[in-house]
Amino acid sequence: MYQILKQIVKTGIKTEAAPQPDEAMRVEPQRLQQQILDVLGRALAIRHVDAGSCNACQLEIQAVNNAYYNIEGLGIKFVASPRHADILLVTGPVSRHMETALKLTYDATPEPKLVVAIGDCARDGGIFGASYASCGGVASVIPVDVMVSGCPPTPSAILQGILTAISAQK
């Protein structure tokens, strides 16, 4: 126990300032009212859905939970069911085999809900494109509010995308 406490003290606080929302990431006009955004801004629940990615985007979403980005410190946490979620974070081109699962997850998420598409593949299918096995981008299957580009996008870009989704449109 002593070693653990000593290490925690030695490590100190690594958390960096959160990025500002970026309007360029928004693809749909903000649908939520200010009162809702005020609530979400303080306690936001996210459900991640991998719809067919190569798993690099997951690595960066996992990194958003590390001490440097410390997403939980902003009141945002990942939850284990779409029923608990305010936002869906979707990675990958949507494989045809995940199309139904993604639609069901979207339907299971209570209103008001937002969707953030993470990565170049989620934008337009990326390097995998659209094919016999891939529907291409996430927007071809469910409505998307914010898109974060990158292969994979950096954790700051992902955080910025989430913060954009819950900020008032300027």
Partner: protein, 516 residues
């Protein structure tokens, strides 16, 4: 020559690892496989290709490995009746590969016990095969629901827990069907293929250079290993060797990928047993390393830094100093954290004995990579077939016998520390020449090459066939997860359901790499 059989005249293949290929007849497949199995060899990969446009029908490729090298058996199959003898009773790991070969190409293992579909769910019709050259995507499109006959366990008090495809964490999709009594798992059956996105078909429309990018995205956490294996296969076909500096840099990238993944998984293994301190600490180290990757090489996961012919990123003297400092810091911190994990009674109580795979079962099922080495399967491609620059690095392989979560944690720690030592060795040797790549625009016609690289998870293999014009006719990437997923079904038996996430994470297998 690794395999002797009267009906096999193997020709040596050009390339960085010792490999041969040869044509066989259907009747020889099982005897040759049995001979390799009896001699301690393994099945590395199995795939098929369509050569009907050149009047050569279909071909089944069976890639075997033993201590002398790789041998690819090429079995021509009749166009109208592409059937071959089942080998899953010799190599159990062939089962899913044979089923995938049917789903994608329509070649069929005769008399195999299990003919359920594997990679196909409902996206295309049964009876149409995406990897056939005359496949019509629009015509074959289907929206049928996936009806998959799981094996049911019956008896008093037995019930099923279906999990997925959408999982509770930040992980890839797949379906797990647990049959349990109380808390105890009686059976686990996996249903994968959810992330199937047509990677192999995609390769066929790409140039050599585009293919390198795609290879680096077969499984994002093993981007370096795949890009290197792809480049190795292409360079073998072209008969070129990249500049020495490029090879040293590739090894540096590969070891950095290994360290980053082990750091991340060791953190998760801590949080999976409620020691969130472990996640916080290891992910600080991982983040520092990824930031150094971005600063030094321009990409956090080193994607697209390896191309056929060489590499695209160099290391400056200043960068070398940064890596030296990073290695020293990581060595100090990892040793300290290892001490904390080792001394923590709660952590060890969960790790020890969980998800055990005995060495005998591991050998039988062909468990490979780091999970294999934790169950006494002493295979490491960097040691067995040390291609440059590993021939000058003397890699110390980490092995352990216990085969439980604790053993896989020990192997990860050992490999992580060894990778830090290797990085330092590489930095010392990284001298002379500033050439980073040889030009390799296009492949020679009708070539066939294989590349194999020991990624952090296990051996990653990429096979490349070029057509008469030198374009990519068929590319088959093979992930070690093909071998290890079925073994996970055994690892969980008699464990309790709440230990599944821990056991699963200790293997950390790729969905995308197997679903293709």
């Amino acid at each position: 020559m690794p395999i002797k059989h009267p009906n096999l005249q193997p020709e040596p293949m050009n390339g960085a690892i010792p490999a041969w290929h040869g044509k066989i007849a259907a009747g020889d497949l099982q005897p040759i496989c049995q001979g390799v199995r009896d001699g301690g060899g393994r099945l590395l990969a199995l795939w098929g290709s369509d050569w009907r446009v050149t009047q050569h029908g279909f071909v089944l490729h069976t890639l075997l490995v033993n201590e002398a090298g790789l041998v690819c058996l090429n079995l021509p199959l009749a166009e109208d009746h592409p059937v071959y003898p089942d080998i899953s009773h010799i190599f159990p790991q062939a089962n899913r590969m044979q089923r995938a070969a049917y789903d994608l190409l329509g070649i069929y293992a005769h008399e195999g016990g299990d003919h359920r579909k594997w990679l196909r769910h409902g996206a295309w019709h049964s009876g149409s095969f995406p990897l056939r050259k005359d496949f019509d995507a629009a015509q074959s499109r289907s929206d049928e629901l996936d009806a998959y006959p799981f094996v049911h366990v019956e008896g008093t008090g037995v019930h099923e827990i279906p999990v997925g495809p959408v999982h509770a964490g930040i992980i890839e999709p797949g379906h797990f069907r647990f049959s349990v009594v109380g808390e105890k798992m009686l059976r686990l059956e996996q249903r994968l293929g959810y992330t199937h996105k047509g990677i192999e078909k995609r390769f066929e429309s790409m140039t050599l250079q585009q293919g390198a990018k795609l290879a680096g995205r077969v499984s994002g956490d093993s981007s370096v290993a795949y890009a290197w294996a792809y480049a190795m296969a292409a360079e073998g076909i072209a008969g070129i060797t990249p500049p020495a500096r490029a090879l040293w840099l590739r090894a540096l990238f590969l070891e950095r990928e290994r360290v980053a993944n082990h750091l991340g998984d060791l953190g998760y293994l801590g949080s999976d047993v409620a020691l969130s301190f472990g996640f916080a600490q290891f992910w600080i180290l991982k983040e520092q390393m990824l930031r150094n990757n971005a600063a030094l090489f321009g990409h956090r996961y080193l994607m697209d830094r390896i191309i056929p012919g060489g590499v695209t990123a160099d290391l400056s003297a200043e960068g070398r100093r940064m890596i030296e400092e990073e290695c020293a810091m990581l060595e100090r911190e990892v040793r300290l954290l290892r001490g904390i994990y080792d001394d923590h009674a709660g952590v060890q109580d969960r790790f020890i004995g969980a998800g055990r795979i005995e060495p005998k079962l591991a050998a039988q099922l062909g468990l490979c990579g780091l999970a294999g080495r934790a169950s006494a399967q002493a295979w490491d491609a960097r040691v067995q077939f040390p291609c440059a620059p590993y021939d000058r690095l003397d890699v110390q392989m980490a092995t352990y016998r216990n085969g439980d979560v604790a053993a896989r944690v020990i192997v990860r720690f050992d490999e992580l520390l060894e990778s830090l030592r290797l990085q330092r060795e590489i930095l010392v040797n990284l001298t002379g020449g500033d050439e980073l790549a040889m030009p390799l625009e296009k492949l020679p016609g009708n070539g066939f090459g294989v590349g194999m690289v020991e990624g952090w998870r296990g051996e990653v293999m990429v096979a490349v066939h070029s057509n008469a014009q030198g374009n990519l006719a068929r590319v088959h990437p093979h992930d070690p997860s093909w071998q290890n997923w079925p073994v996970l079904e055994h690892a969980v038996l008699d464990n309790i359901v709440p230990d599944f996430p821990l056991i699963n994470k200790s293997f950390n297998l790729s969905y995308s790499g197997q679903d293709l």
